[in-house]
Structure formats: C-alpha cells, structure tokens
C-alpha cells in the first residue's frame, strides 16, 4: 500500500487544522453558511435529511486493517455504529455532528486518511479495479497510476474550481471491473506490441441526468505521458466546459456538443504543448511509486485444492460461496475473496463497527493485511490462500457476512436514497431489500445466474441504474414514489446504457415487475450459459414489454 511520506503527513495535518479553524469560525458565526458551504463540501461534509454526512476518501478502494479499525472506531464513537460503502469506493457516515468533524479528521489523519475532494467541483477519488495487483487477467497493477493521479490532483490549483465534478477510473485488465467507460476519464492500462505500458484513454462517459458512454480518444498513451495527457484533457474541459448550466457542465456534454473528433484534436494540441514539460513522468518516479504496491510475498500453499475440495463436499454453503465469492488469483494457490455486504434483506453497502473490526482481523489472519472496497459496495480480501478459504468462510458465517451472492441478483447496488439523501425523490434501500428477500433462495439465484440490479433514488444516478442489467430509478410522481425500469445496461467493457422499458411501477409493484422480467428471461434463454444481458441483447424489449404490459394493451 502507499504510505504517507513527511510531505503527505504535513499536507493532511495542515488541511485538518485549516478546516478545524473554518468549522470554529462557522460555529462562532464569523462565516455564514453561504461562505462555509463550499469549504465544507471540499472536506466531504454534506447536509442530508437527518444530519450532516461525512464522506471519507478511500483512494482506489485500498484499506489496511488499521484503517478499517479506525473507521469502525469512528462509527462507534462519533456516529451510530455503522458506515456505508459507496460506489466511489468511499465510506460515508450518516450522522456526524459538525462539532465532531475536526476531531474525526484528526483521527483519520492518524491512519493516513482524509476527506479531501470527496465532494465539490474538483477531481474526485480516483477509482480502480478492486482486484488490482491480484487478478489473474491483469496486464499490470493500475494502483500506482491511480496514486500518481491522486497526488497530482490533490488540491491542484488549476483544477479546484472546474465547471463540475470530475471522476477518473483506471483498470489494468481487459475485463473492466472499474466501469471506466462511464467515467469522465477512463484509463485502460495495457501493453503495446513492443511490450511497453500505456493507456487507452476514454473521455466523456457518465451517468446522471444525461447518461453517456465514453469515447475512446487515444488507443495508446505511453505511461510517461499520463499527467501531460490528463492535464491536456482537464485544460480543454476547464476552458470550454459549460458553467452556465449545472446540468450541462460535465465533460460528457462538452464531448457531445463539440464532437469527439474536434475535442480529441483540441486535447492532442494541448498535449503536444505539454508533452515535454515537467509533467512528463520520469521512469524512476513511476517505478518508485510502484514499489509501494509490490505484491505481498505469498507462501506456497499447494494444499489448497484438497482443502477446498474436502470442504466443498461436506459443506454445501461453502461450495456455493466458493463458486460465487472467490475469484481467480494470479497465484494458483490463492484467491480474491468478495465479502458480500448484501446479506439477504440487509442494507447494501452497510457494515457495522463490529463487522469492520472483524474484517480487519480476518484480513490480518488470512488476507495479507489488505482490504479493498469495490464500486459494487462489497469488501474484498485480494490475497487469500485457497487452503484458508474454509476457515475464512466459517469466520464470515460467524459475523453474518458469508452471503454467497457476488454478481447474483441479490448483489444489488443501491444509493442511500430518500431514507437519508436530501437530493433523492424516492427510497432505494427498501426496494433493494424487498428484491433481495424475494430472490433469497440460493438455488433460484444460481439458476438465474449473473444479473446486476442497480437502484438510484434520483436522476443523479449514484446507484448506477443506467448500467444495471436491470436498472431501477426512483422518481416522485404526484407526491408518491414511482420506479422506472431500464433493461440492458452494462458498465463492463463495451458499456451500454439501459433502455426504459415502459411506464413506472409503484412501491408495491416494483418487486413483482422485477420478478416478471426475470421469469421472462428464464423462459426465453437459450440455456443456462446465456446470461440475462446476452438474452436481452438478443431478444430486445419485446418479450419483456409483453410480459410487463401486454395485459394492459389487451384490456385497452
């Protein structure tokens, strides 16, 4: 993991002191709310329905056990005993007092954490593949580059007042687990024919009110030019992005209105001017950052196959969990483990202080001291010996975190929605809970196979509904909640935006509607190997429309 040097410590400490002073001045009345609001947002402090909310940055979703224990401590001491992991690989507390925030920031700084740039019109937490440095299909670890981007973008004077927020994601594998095509900048780390590292660069993706898939504007950018090229993109955006209308201010609108070709030309022109500047990354600097992310020394554990086979025979729960929640590691003796924060009927992404402490213990005992947060709102232990999987599974059963549903219909992404959020129009979490309960049967979930349900409580799309295989958007209509369904979205490579299937459904109808869609898929698929998404792409909307609305058309 990256470790703070003296500069980093001093930088965060100074920022904590600065914000502590700003809070004190706000409380004394020296600063008005209008003056304070942009300052608190830059430090991750929002106001929600019931209280303030504090969003803590977890760079590219990487956590040490010590950091996770600190988050558990903060949940217990200053909040209500739980935290909510988000689709930006961050953590939110929903009940902090403003008067406690300076103290919380001091505690976070002790473990090299902060809340800087978790809000505001700046470059937000850079996200990455949650299996980075472990996945078998990875060309190179994306985290060193994410860390370089983090350092470069932190309080960047030129990019602290952008037209709108700006999100960057990096993946190092062909299989895109970081949703790079729905980010403002998506970077796909790869090798060229000569074996050199570089990036395919995607620009102008995003969800929200106007969902768009990013355009690839460069097939190969040498790694040394990472900062000159991203600076070029940000400059073009900062200069030309719209500031007259908040809803048209993201770079996706600029790309759309300018045209990909013209925008690419502008970026390339800026890049040509910057290419040989101090932004060019010396090889030694890249390699120095890489050393922070050296893979752990993994001892040979060839007994894994036998241990797993034995446990699988005697414990069907383990076999289910192994099948869904263990992913192939580059070392055949090891696996990447997904700890599902989607227990049946639970709140997606929530973890209690006791669970966070227990996961920190398990990461030390079985996981080589590493924890990741996935944008799918689960926690990951990226390096677990297969021989330890039965013991890890048993320990997860003890703390209620052994749900075997990674990638299944109950592994739902949901934003906090109207239960907490001041922007929401409808609740998301109760919908997720009811769908989860309806499809609780492990056998039924396994029969359905890979299916991503994503739920947002408003058009801002924090729940990524546009890229759900089944997406659900909550709106308010005549004072009541109404849920609109989109089908066929995907945030994987070759991302697609889901299509609205028809009229929305009330809170009492939405789970039935999802079930109808699932049953229609099962009835029409060409076999178990044809996933929901593949079947939808083959069949189109017609059979789903007929199943959902056919009786209405016939009655009319």
């Amino acid at each position: 993991m990256y470790r703070y040097d003296e500069f980093d410590h001093a930088f965060v400490k100074a920022r904590v002191a600065e914000f502590g002073d700003q809070v004190a001045r706000r409380l004394s009345g020296t600063l008005t709310e209008d003056e304070f609001k942009p300052l608190r947002l830059m430090n991750g402090v929002y106001l929600q329905l019931h209280a303030y909310m504090l969003r803590i940055a977890i760079p590219y979703g990487s956590l040490s056990p010590r950091q996770l224990r600190k988050l558990a401590h903060i949940a217990r001491t200053y909040d209500k005993g739980y935290g909510h992991f988000t689709t930006r690989q961050n953590l939110q507390f929903h009940w902090p007092k403003l008067t406690d925030v300076p103290k919380i920031l001091e505690e976070l700084a002790e473990v090299e954490m902060h809340c800087i740039q978790t809000s505001g019109n700046c470059i937000r937490n850079v996200t990455a593949d949650h299996f980075a440095g472990a996945a078998a299909d990875e060309v190179a670890d994306p985290r060193p580059y994410a860390e370089i981007l983090r350092q470069w973008s932190s309080l960047h004077p030129e990019f602290s007042y952008l037209p709108r927020k700006f999100k960057i994601a990096v993946t190092g594998a062909e299989r895109d687990r970081a949703a790079i095509e729905v980010h403002d900048i998506g970077l796909h780390l790869k090798k060229n024919d000569k074996g050199e590292l570089g990036f395919a660069v995607y620009v102008g993706g995003g969800l929200g009110r106007t969902p768009m898939v990013a355009k690839k504007i460069r097939d190969f950018l040498p790694e040394q030019d990472l900062l000159s090229y991203t600076t070029a993109i940000l400059r073009v955006y900062n200069l030309n992005g719209r500031r007259d209308n908040k809803y048209k201010a993201r770079i996706k609108i600029l790309v759309h209105e300018t045209g990909t070709e013209e925008l690419t030309a502008a970026v390339e022109a800026e890049y040509a001017a910057l290419k040989d500047s101090e932004l060019r990354l010396p090889d030694a600097d890249i390699r120095a950052i890489e050393t922070y992310f050296k893979p752990p020394r993994l001892a040979a554990r060839p007994e894994g196959d036998r241990a797993v086979a034995t446990a699988g025979k005697t414990n069907p729960g383990f076999a289910d969990w192994l099948g869904r929640n263990a992913t192939t590691h580059r070392n055949p003796d090891y696996a990447c483990v997904t700890i599902s924060l989607k227990g049946i009927g639970e709140v997606p992404g929530d973890a209690s202080d006791a669970q966070m402490d227990a996961i920190a213990d398990l990461a030390e005992q079985y996981g080589n001291d590493e924890i990741r947060v996935s944008h799918e709102q689960n926690l990951i232990l990226p390096h677990v010996a297969r021989a330890d999987l039965p013991a890890l599974h048993a320990a997860l059963v003890e703390i209620g975190l052994a749900t075997a549903n990674a990638g299944l219909i109950t592994d739902i992404i949901a934003c906090p929605g109207l239960d907490y959020c001041a922007l929401a129009n409808a609740r998301s979490i109760p919908v997720a809970q009811e769908i989860s309960q309806r499809f609780a049967s492990q056998a039924r979930q396994a029969e359905i196979g890979d299916l991503q349900v994503k739920i947002s409580g408003c058009i801002n799309a924090c729940g990524h509904h546009h890229v759900g295989h089944i997406g659900i958007l909550g709106v308010e209509k005549k004072g009541a909640e109404l849920y609109q369904i989109t089908l066929g979205g995907s945030a994987r490579e070759g991302s697609t935006i889901g299509e609205i299937i028809g009229r929305g459904f009330g809170p009492e109808e939405i789970t039935d509607a999802v079930e109808t869609i699932v049953e229609t898929y099962l009835a029409h698929r060409q076999g178990r190997e044809e996933t929901f998404l593949d079947a939808y792409r083959r069949l189109g909307q017609a059979p789903f429309k007929e199943a959902l609305y056919g009786h209405e058309a016939r009655a009319a």
Partner: protein, 102 residues
C-alpha cells in the same frame, strides 16, 4: 398549512420552529401557519435564525393535520420527521418509541 423546517447548525439535527420562535426537535411541537400572514412570520423568523447561525437549510413545508397531529404532505418531509424508514431504531422515531415505551 405550513410549518418551518431546518437543520441545526451544530449537529445537523432536523428541527422545526415552535411556539415562541424556539426550535423544537419534534414535528408535533412545530408552530402551524394557517394563512399567508402566518407563513410570512415563519419565514421571517427562519431568516433571522439563519442570520444568527442557529440553523441552515430553512424551508417551509406543506402539512395536513390528522387527528391533531402534524403530517407533512411529502414523503421526504415525513421521513425527515421520523428517521430512515429502514432503521426504526435510529433517529427521532427511535426516541419517540422509547418515550412511549417509558
């Protein structure tokens, strides 16, 4: 009919303007404006409290009275008055339940 809702500066707690221009923590204690003039009085008191740095996010909220109890028209404000619907153990609803149990 309207009441005036806000969040308290120090801790973000949802509060409403009650009798004697005091900010109260339960919606049932909110002062109900039944005409335009009373609404304007609420708004003026809200502006003053905002300027005095007591509260933020001050908004007039549409309500009905049901059996003498204040019921906001919008679900948003009903959730704001009770707490997260998914967590009856948290927020004002939990405190109210504890008081009733006592």
């Amino acid at each position: 009919m309207k009441i005036l809702a806000a969040n308290r500066l120090t801790d973000g707690e949802t509060v409403w303007l009650g009798a004697g221009d005091r900010w109260v923590e339960t919606i049932d204690a909110a002062h109900v404006a039944r005409d335009k003039e009373a609404e304007e009085r609420l708004s003026a008191a809200g502006d003053a409290a905002l300027a005095a740095n007591l509260v933020l996010d001050v908004t007039l909220v549409d309500i009905d009275l049901s059996d003498g109890r204040v019921l906001p028209s919008r679900l948003r404000e009903r959730i704001r008055a009770g707490g997260p619907s998914i967590h009856p153990d948290l927020g004002k609803q939990a405190r109210n339940a504890a008081q009733h149990a006592a």
